[in-house]
Every structure is written in structure tokens, then in C-alpha cells.
């Protein structure tokens, strides 16, 4: 277990040695800050109308939920960029043999790498979460819903990075890994869209869609089924990565 943490720490620190992590943090924060201010602006404009309405959406619904939804979509595009180098670049730089000849198991390598990247993604989520927290200075948030949004986004990035890690294990080139994982994630994201056509509902597609489970948790209903979906999702891709890395020795 300790070796897993060693690899995770190394991975986390390495991300900050390249400009990649810094630029992603900066760009994300800039874009999401703009979106956040936009939502706050919208709220102040329609605030007067909302006062008279029965069961009107509150500050959390108008600011927090859209912010986290947008963050989800942007992270769908960004996570593959962070994960693409994980195994792929080690293989290309021939540094993988350092890990393969050390007394550590394949699951140590994969889980360590996973936790390292997840660390950075959690930092990103934390920074996004800070923005609505500032609203507490002048208003009130629905704590339950706010937490649900926070949880949903964390689970989402955990799922994204599992897919990204798997693609990085499979692909021979980092860009291929990035394109592959964006492809898989986007497909899982839009899988649900066929359901908008009536009479063509597919329960399987509905269950597989990430978006559906993400939105379900976001709405404040933390369902064990949605939680299980994410746990299974992450476990599946991590196991596939471990299996694939074990196969590495048999191929070529």
C-alpha cells in the first residue's frame, strides 16, 4: 500500500513539474470564473421576479448547479489531457521498466498513477467549489444540494480519470490516448440523448449514460444505485488497466 502512495505522490508532483498542470488550472479557473459570474449576474437580474413565485428555484439552483454541470463538461475535455501521459509516456521513455523490475505489483502501479492524477483533479474540484462558497458572504446556500453537487463532480472526475488511465495503458501514443478517452467519455455522455425521441427509450443506454447518474446526484437525490454506478465504473476501468499492464510482458 505504501508503494502505491509513493507512486501517487511522485505522479502528483511530476504533474506540477510540467507547465501542463499549471496551465490547465489557470485556464479552467478563468473560464469557470466567468461562467460563475454570469450565473450570479442572472440571479441578481431575476431575483425580484423570484420573490413572488411559489417554489421558486433558489440561489443554489441558479448558480451552483449550472456551474457544476458546465465544469463537468469542461473536465470531460480536460481530464484526458491530464491522464494521457500516465502509462503511455513511461512506455515511450522506457521508464516503465524501472517500475516493472521493481518489487511492486501491477495494481500498485495502476492505482498509484490513478490516485496521483485524481489528486490534481480533486484540487481542481476544490477550486471550483470555492467560488460558490463566496456567496455565503451575502446569501445562503442550500447546503444539502451544494454538497450533492460537490459529490457528483468528484465522482465524475474519478470516473473520467479511470477511463483516461485505461486508454493511456492501451494506447501507444499520448495523443491517441487523449482522443480515445475523449471519444469514450463523450459517447457515454451523449448515450442518453436518444431517449429524447419518444417510444425509443432504451433502459440499458439510460443506465450506461454518465450524464444521467451525474444529474441524478446533482439534483440532490443521492441514490445508492448512482453511487454504485460510479464505483463499478471506476473499478472496471482500473481492473482493465491492471490486466492490460500484466499483458504488456507477453506482447511485442
Amino acid at each position: 500500500m505504501s508503494v502505491t502512495l509513493v507512486i501517487a505522490t511522485r505522479e502528483f508532483k511530476s504533474l506540477f513539474l510540467s507547465p501542463l498542470a499549471w496551465s490547465i488550472l489557470a485556464v479552467l479557473q478563468g473560464i469557470l470564473g466567468y461562467l460563475f459570474l454570469n450565473q450570479v449576474e442572472t440571479f441578481t437580474l431575476i431575483q425580484a421576479k423570484l420573490v413572488g413565485m411559489e417554489g421558486a428555484p433558489g440561489l443554489t439552483d441558479i448558480v451552483v448547479t449550472p456551474l457544476f454541470s458546465n465544469a463537468g463538461i469542461i473536465l470531460l475535455l480536460v481530464t484526458p489531457l491530464l491522464t494521457m501521459r500516465l502509462i503511455c509516456e513511461e512506455r515511450r521513455n522506457k521508464t516503465l521498466s524501472l517500475l516493472l523490475s521493481a518489487p511492486i505489483s501491477n495494481s500498485d502501479i495502476i492505482i498509484g498513477k490513478y490516485l496521483g492524477t485524481l489528486g490534481l483533479l480533486l484540487v481542481i474540484v476544490a477550486l471550483i467549489t470555492l467560488m460558490p462558497l463566496f456567496l455565503l458572504m451575502g446569501g445562503e446556500l442550500d447546503n444539502g444540494k451544494f454538497f450533492a453537487n460537490f459529490l457528483a463532480l468528484n465522482l465524475l472526475v474519478a470516473g473520467f480519470s479511470a477511463v483516461g488511465l485505461f486508454m493511456s495503458t492501451v494506447a501507444g501514443h499520448p495523443t491517441v490516448a487523449a482522443i480515445g478517452s475523449i471519444g469514450i467519455l463523450l459517447l457515454l455522455w451523449i448515450l442518453d440523448w436518444t431517449n429524447s425521441i419518444k417510444d425509443q427509450r432504451s433502459e440499458l443506454f439510460e443506465y450506461l449514460s454518465i450524464l444521467r447518474h451525474f444529474q441524478a446526484i446533482q439534483s440532490g437525490q443521492i441514490n445508492s444505485m448512482d453511487l454504485c454506478y460510479f464505483v463499478l465504473f471506476i473499478a472496471t476501468f482500473l481492473l482493465l488497466s491492471i490486466r492490460y499492464l500484466a499483458n504488456e510482458r507477453f506482447q511485442k
Binding site: 508503494v3 507512486i7 513539474l17 521498466s97 524501472l98 518489487p103 511492486i104
Partner: protein, 307 residues
């Protein structure tokens, strides 16, 4: 004494191409085995299999008594490996890199810094220990790779072409280091530099087309080289029958006009008598050069017979 490495009937195929064909050998403590072979002979493939980077198609590898396939973690604990391209994280400093390697090897926190200091000193990396690996010269990078392989004091050290890219002084230092390490470790090193094997190794294994064609100790090898040779240049033609009658001379071959190679058995040394005879007969001795039979000759003879 138990062998540090036991390899039995090891084979590796890439598709239909057979890179390593049914080889078996052992490595004892205190032995330095030189793995010799032309390009594409299967040296690196064998080393990758020994280090657990490549799974064999068939066969058994035991390191320090542990099966590499069934108990990989225990086996790898006693293994230090320098790949043909050193595995270095170029964006770390030497110190950081070695620290990471030590952690991967499971060295305890208290022990890490003394071990790193000792290794840095052994590989003479003191001057560069705080610099980024990416900015180091090829020779220094190679030495960082070697440092990584010997860091955790493993019983078995596998070095794939350890002296590539080093300058002559560094080569000398590394060879001395290998010799010193060889005293209480088992070392396998691959190379195609033949004098290196003669200088540093206690055993030699020549591999060609995936098969081991020679496996002997350097001492045995030198003993089997019973023939020695003198090149003689004279002014006028020599009479072969007279020279052949000198004791120990076995064969004379003419390689050019008035230039002969005189082969003799190493049981005795007829050089003095040959010189006296030539002078006495008035053939006009101009030059006499001993020709050392080197590893090159054996290597070429063996590999050419095979192919």
C-alpha cells in the same frame, strides 16, 4: 552454494521469430558473467526476461531461489536492472530520482539518505547530484542508471551494455566498480566490446541466433587457447621444414611474400630458437611480432561456424 540465477530451457518468440532458443544457465555468487553476442543475438531479450519486463514463451527463471513468474515480488527484491536505454525520469534531479527508486524498492525512511549518499559516492555522482537528469551528459546519465541498479544492494545485478557512452576514464572506473561489486554479488552484463569481458568478467557466455554457443570461465577459456602465434618478416625466403623441426612449432602459414605466421603450442616458447635459426641461416630477420589470440578470434570463429 545456491545459485543466484537459474535459467532452464528459456525460449522467447516474437510471433514466429525465435529470439531466444531454449537456453539454460546459472549464475553463482561472486561471478561476473559477460553476455556476448552480435546485434540481434538475443542479449537484450534475455536480459528483459531476467528482469521481469518480458514474459518468456517457455522456460523457468529463478532469482535467488524464487520463481520470477510465481513469486515475482520476492524475486525482484533481489534484482537490480539497468536496461539498454536507462530508465530515467529526466525532469527530476539525480537526488530526487534516486530517492524515488529507493522508495520503490521499499527501503525504510531512515535508511534512504545514507544509502543514496553511499551510491552517489560509488558512482562518483557527487558533483551532479543536485542537477536535473535531462541536463546531464550521456555518460553521467548512464552512471545514474547504474546507481539506480545497485542502489538497494541487490544480490543479482543485470547490466545491459553498462559502458555505452562513457569516456575512457569513466569506463575504467565503471569496470573497477563492476569488479568490486562482483565480489559479493552476482552480475550479468551484456556487451559487444570484447576486451571488456576479458577485463571484468569471470565467466563468458557467447550467444548467437538465440542460442548459447559458449559458456566458460575466463580461466578455462584462456587455457583452451593453447595455440599462440608469431609473425615473422624476413628479407629472403625461409625453409619451412627447418623451422618446423624446432620444438613446439606446429604450423607455418605464408601470408605474404617473405611474411609468415608461425604457430606454436603454448607448452613452450620457441621464439628465441626461431630467431637464432633465421639469423644463422642468413634469411635476414626484419621483424618478429607476437600475435595475441584475442576474444575477437574466438568470437568470430564461433559465430561464423554457427551462421
Amino acid at each position: 552454494m545456491a545459485n543466484l540465477i537459474e535459467v532452464e530451457n528459456l525460449s522467447r518468440y516474437y510471433g514466429k521469430y525465435c529470439a531466444v532458443n531454449n537456453i539454460s544457465f546459472t549464475l553463482a555468487k561472486g561471478a561476473v558473467v559477460g553476455f556476448l553476442g552480435p546485434n540481434g543475438a538475443g542479449k537484450t531479450t534475455t536480459m528483459q526476461m531476467l528482469s521481469g519486463n518480458l514474459a518468456p514463451s517457455s522456460g523457468l527463471i529463478k532469482i535467488n531461489g524464487f520463481d520470477l513468474l510465481n513469486a515475482p515480488l520476492k524475486a525482484k527484491r533481489s534484482l537490480g536492472y539497468l536496461p539498454d536505454i536507462p530508465s530515467l525520469y529526466k525532469d527530476l534531479t539525480v537526488q530526487e530520482f534516486l530517492h524515488y527508486c529507493a522508495q520503490l524498492q521499499g527501503i525504510t525512511k531512515q535508511a534512504i539518505y545514507p544509502i543514496i549518499d553511499k551510491t552517489v559516492e560509488r558512482c562518483s555522482l557527487q558533483t551532479v547530484s543536485k542537477r536535473l537528469i535531462a541536463n546531464l551528459s550521456k555518460g553521467f546519465q548512464q552512471r545514474v542508471g547504474i546507481a539506480q541498479a545497485i542502489l538497494h544492494n541487490p544480490e543479482v545485478i543485470i547490466l545491459d551494455e553498462p559502458t555505452v557512452g562513457l569516456d575512457p576514464i569513466q569506463i575504467k572506473e565503471i569496470r573497477a566498480l563492476i569488479k568490486e561489486l562482483g565480489k559479493d554479488h552476482g552480475i550479468i552484463l551484456s556487451t559487444h566490446i570484447l576486451p571488456e569481458v576479458q577485463e571484468t568478467c569471470s565467466h563468458v557466455q557467447i550467444i548467437n541466433n538465440g542460442k548459447i554457443i559458449l559458456n566458460e570461465s575466463i580461466f578455462e577459456l584462456n587455457r583452451t587457447m593453447t595455440q599462440d602465434c608469431l609473425q615473422v618478416i624476413t628479407r629472403s625466403p625461409v625453409d619451412n621444414t627447418i623451422l618446423l623441426s624446432i620444438p613446439y612449432v606446429t604450423r607455418i602459414e605464408e601470408i605474404a611474400h617473405n611474411r609468415h605466421n608461425i604457430h606454436y603450442s603454448m607448452k613452450g616458447n620457441p621464439t628465441h630458437q626461431i630467431a637464432e635459426t633465421i639469423i644463422a641461416k642468413g634469411w635476414g630477420l626484419e621483424e618478429m611480432t607476437p600475435i595475441k589470440k584475442s576474444m575477437e578470434d574466438i568470437f568470430l570463429a564461433l559465430t561464423q561456424v554457427e551462421s
